[in-house]
């Protein structure tokens, strides 16, 4: 009796799911239409307005597009991007590793929390830019190290703090369930603590990406002029605003793509946090 009911329910449920998926697809298409339309609109206005101003201040999108081609043709863009990506990914990997480890340790062990919390609060409230010269001196201005360290410094705090919060905010009810079924410490981590911390961690990574990009450009301005930051400065100094915009757009695109990627991962690994319908 109940089994029959359940099967019937399962049937209608499959139908409902398919309908919801179709509805979502339509919604998604609508969303994307609006997004793209809004960007195109801004570009159109920009194209139309820009020629009325001094070309030293603003250039229309078509000029920037041409500058894109030029910088790719002479290889400058690829080289700068490669340099910046090295710093960015190196710094982010360090921030992720240290941030997750320290976040977990401080979320779980009171001693670690007390040991690092004042330092974290202090470093997080000082504008990270102010620490860049210190880092440069510490690493003797040599190679990519000071820039990688800067990216790591900019990115680590949201990761650390969010992971810590995730570990501390584990549902007490679930901890009790685990205890009631006689969990081992290892299974407590894999079944309960880590899965419940992952959505927090990913939200932290999303914030960290934006900060890491800022750290990347700032360190390229302040420590040794290389990469995309170098392109920005150089073409600003020679008033080639069209070329200056190219690395700016590249950085913006990196941010959009990476944050979108993390958001997509969030939806995949933590579907229960997704607000649906």
């Amino acid at each position: 009796m109940t089994v029959g009911e359940a099967q019937r329910a399962a049937g209608t449920r499959a139908g409902a799911l398919a309908a919801a998926r179709r509805r979502r697809l339509r919604l998604d298409l609508g969303d994307w239409g609006v997004r793209i339309g809004s960007v195109l609109f801004v570009l159109a206005v920009w194209e139309f307005v820009a020629p009325r101003f001094n070309p030293l201040i603003i250039r229309p999108p078509t000029h920037i597009f041409r500058a894109f081609g030029e910088l790719i043709a002479n290889g400058e863009l690829q080289e700068a991007l490669g340099q910046s990506l090295r710093e960015f990914s190196g710094g982010l990997v360090i921030a992720l590793t240290l941030g997750i480890l320290l976040g977990i340790a401080s979320g779980r062990y009171r001693f670690v929390y007390n040991a690092i919390d004042p330092l974290v609060s202090a470093l997080y409230s000082v504008p990270s830019v102010a620490l860049v010269p210190l880092i440069a001196v510490a690493f003797k201005f040599q190679g990519d190290a000071p820039r990688i360290a800067t990216v790591a410094l900019f990115a680590i705090f949201p990761i650390l703090i969010n992971t810590q919060q995730g570990v501390r905010n584990v549902d007490r009810g679930l901890l009790e369930v685990a205890k009631a079924f006689n969990t081992s410490e290892r299974r407590l981590w894999t079944d309960v603590i880590i899965p419940s911390a992952v959505p927090f961690l990913l939200a932290g990574v999303r914030l960290a990406i934006g900060r890491a990009l800022i750290g990347m450009i700032v360190s390229e301005f302040l420590v040794g002029l290389v990469g995309l930051g170098y392109l920005i400065i150089v073409y600003e100094n020679v008033f080639r605003i069209d070329r200056m915009f190219v690395p700016v757009i590249v950085v913006a695109t990196m941010g959009i793509v990476l944050m979108g990627l993390v958001q997509w991962i969030e939806g995949r690994v933590a579907p229960w946090t997704r607000r649906e319908q």
Binding site: T2, V3, E5, A6, Q7, A9, A10, R13, G173, L174, E176, V177, K179, A180, F181, N182, T183, S184, R187, D191, V192, P195, S196, A270, P271, W272
Partner: protein, 262 residues
Amino acid sequence: MAVAERLVVERASKTFGGGELTVFADLDLAVRDQESVCVLGPSGCGKTTLLRAMHGLVGLDEGRIVVDGSVVLRPRSNVAMVFQHFGLMPWKSVTANVAYGLELAGVARQEIAERVTRYVELVGLKGFERSYPHTLSGGMQQRVGLARALAMEPDILLMDEPFGSLDAQTREILQDELLSILQITGVRGGRAPATMVFITHSIEEAIALGDRIVVLSARPARIRETISVDIPRPRTVASVIAHPRFVELRDRCWRLLRERTA
């Protein structure tokens, strides 16, 4: 086994906040093998705390709890609990949630798969094995919680207001299903039905499910009275409500809950 008393609470007292809040004091209770005891008490009187103590999840200040002749110090694998808040892991599918306790108990993979299939079907969730809790209704979620406990094939079931947060209709359906599940002897690998302690603050539920009802007073909880429910099994909620003894039992529980502690 000829154990007449499966679970015994002896002069149990529990306080929180270093003695500031006395949750229950001097509680005595004996649950016989295969008996179903409902604990009825007002909201916040300490029912959950009592059940947690029975499972060794909190210690007592005084007294002791004995299961099968030995003092309870930590959860044991022949006792399973169903939670007021369901307690499902949102990141685990129905199958994985039901398998959870079995995995921790070290049951063989093959056996886990068989039991999961059997108990998921028994609670009426066939077809939802791969669903995640957030896609299920409250009633279905608690079916998962029930299957997780039943799959342990426990000797003792500890139920903490499992249907308390469900709507009246779903609640009655689940009460009926629990009644019939407990009456199937095959459920526990051919052994006799489990002993059950069922916490509730619904009088009807206590009468429908219990062989005995223990009525607690407001905090600090004491046993006001123990009432035998002399309504024969097999029961359904409808048959219990229609039974001539029902009204009298209900009025008696109701008076006990309403009366101020003397």
